[in-house]
């Protein structure tokens, strides 16, 4: 996850690393000096969903799957996460709100010391459930909207889904829950970005999280509908400009990018061009600490049947099942050659990635896209949009001022 707003609007040119370190124990926004050592865990609590989204990585259906973790098993699983020191559990689906024990599980997670957050389509959030989730200890709700109303409803397979999601956002905000937008960018909806941000800022939202399409689940069937690298670059550049415009107008929205760490390199280049080399060095230094693509390291996924995946998009491969072995043991077991290779992927990357000067802050971006398109785990991500000049070997902006 890369914060455009943080990197372009909130970082000063010098000394920010130490300044933000001091905020470790505070409730305010912070940047850590250390890399995260335990993964954020996405838990697909159910396969069941009340919508049918064309890009669903979890291939959700209108019925729950046989073998879904029960309430008791879910609590035992949350104990495994707490025991391992996982910082955050993201309740996802399917649609997590179809589970009538969601509040109970959120409360259990909070009591266990996990930070419970939610990923939802928002359409089932009533005022009552928003309040109940808040009272259970939920820390954040990310609500998915993928374009203007008609486009969103078409994506999501149900008329009225956009309006219902906006009502859900309003209920969350009214309940005092931290709430943000989740938006998966494709060629069909990239043009709607600006309008959706404008609309939801008016609703009261100030956090916007943009996902690149990864090629897992039904998303793998949409490769042809994905942006071209050129279109992607234009979309990210527009998001940068939009973020700066909002901040210049005093609206301090937060904009974040997920799913393509070519964005990290682009932001360094963008910062250099827009603000100069000192800022670019600071941005790069922050991104070095951030650690690049998190697959198999800083993010994990456990599906509704307990299978452990490298990210939520890697549903086709599982390290093991939490019914057989505790999550922490599976995640620590580097006798698994795939897990080990991904954790040292810089040494395996081929082609234009192998000598890219941004290799350490990108780490080859999505290995899943490389696998899907190139049939090669260590081939370049087909959605890298950096130019040959930008990735030429060298140490551009390395050795930032924050150290």
């Amino acid at each position: 996850m890369i914060s455009i707003s943080k990197l372009l609007c909130d970082l000063d040119a010098e000394g920010d690393g130490l300044r933000y370190d001091a905020a470790d124990e505070s409730n305010t926004h912070q940047i850590t000096k250390r890399r995260q050592r335990r993964p954020v865990v996405v838990w697909n609590t159910t396969r069941q969903c009340n919508l049918y989204c064309s890009h669903c990585y979890a291939a959700a259906e209108d019925e729950p799957a046989p073998g879904e973790l029960t309430t008791a098993e879910g609590k035992a699983f949350l104990d495994q996460l707490a025991d391992y020191g996982v910082p955050v559990v993201l309740f996802s689906g399917g649609e997590p709100l179809v589970r009538d024990d969601l509040e109970e599980l959120v409360a259990y997670a909070a009591d266990a010391g996990l930070r419970p957050v939610l990923s939802t389509n928002g359409t089932l959030i009533t005022a009552e459930r928003a309040a109940a989730l808040r009272d259970a200890g939920l820390q954040y709700a990310g609500i998915s909207v993928d374009g203007r109303p008609e486009r969103n409803d078409s994506f999501r397979g149900r008329e009225g889904a956009f309006d219902a999601a906006v009502r859900g956002i309003e209920h969350c905000l009214d309940a005092g829950l931290k709430t943000g937008l989740r938006y998966t960018i494709t060629s069909a909806n990239a043009g709607d970005l600006e309008a959706v941000i404008d609309l939801l800022v008016d609703v009261g939202l100030d956090r916007f999280c943009f996902y690149h399409l990864d090629y897992g689940g039904r998303g793998a069937e949409l490769v042809d509908a994905d942006l071209t690298p050129t279109e992607r670059r234009a979309a990210i550049e527009r998001l940068c400009e939009l973020t700066l415009e909002y901040h210049d107008d005093g609206e301090e929205i937060e904009t974040l990018l997920v799913g393509n760490y070519a964005d990290a390199a682009f932001l360094v280049e963008y910062a250099s061009e827009r603000f100069g080399d000192a800022r670019a060095r600071t941005v790069r230094d922050y991104l070095e600490r951030n650690g690049g693509d998190p697959t198999g390291e800083r993010i994990a996924d456990v599906d509704y049947c307990g299978n452990v995946h490298l990210t939520q998009f890697w549903q086709g491969y599982s390290l093991g099942n939490v019914r057989d072995r505790p999550f922490g043991e599976l995640w620590e077991d580097e006798t698994n050659p795939l897990l080990r290779a991904l954790r040292e992927r810089e040494t395996h990357l081929t082609g234009r990635c192998s000598e890219c000067r941004y290799r350490s802050i990108c780490r080859g971006a999505s290995r899943l896209r490389a696998l899907a398109v190139e049939d090669d785990l260590f081939a370049p991500d087909p959605q890298c949009y950096l130019t040959e000049g930008e990735i030429a070997p060298g140490d551009a902006f390395a050795g930032g001022s924050a150290d």
Binding site: R37, A65, D83, R115, Y317, S318, D324
Partner: protein, 128 residues
């Protein structure tokens, strides 16, 4: 004398998500033992082999596959029974027997790495 491990049978439940799972075993070289390396989702053995080859074929000399549903599993780290009542009974029984558990009630079993921050910039859901 080493005490016998107390293993429990893992209940056989459907693990498809929604595609059936195949357990994957690979051999690094001719002289190495087969090793379990996780599972792949596939509708057939041929598809599972194709998928496993893409993930492990770059080094393994042998790839074996087994339908996940066909595996009988016994473990010392069993999950609780699927019914809430059963869990309570099991926990109570353990307490009554004085069995030592790994769960420290004061810390609720958490093993937080020393100095590990509890929230991160790199966090889904980290609010502004």
């Amino acid at each position: 004398m080493v005490a016998k491990a107390r293993r429990e049978r893992v209940e056989r439940t459907d693990r498809g998500s929604p595609v059936p799972q195949w357990e994957v075993f690979v051999r690094d070289s001719e002289t190495d033992p087969l090793r379990h390396v996780g599972s792949v989702a596939a509708h057939s053995a041929a598809e599972a082999h194709e998928h496993a080859t893409r993930l492990f074929g770059w080094y393994a000399v042998d790839v074996w596959l087994c339908p996940a549903d066909a595996v009988e599993r016994f473990t010392t780290s069993a999950f609780p029974a699927t019914d809430e009542g059963d869990v309570t009974e099991e926990t109570d029984a353990e307490r009554e027997s004085g069995a030592e558990t790994e769960i420290d009630t004061e810390t609720n079993g958490r093993r937080i790495a020393e100095g590990e921050p509890r929230s991160y910039e790199e966090t889904i859901g980290e609010p502004r």
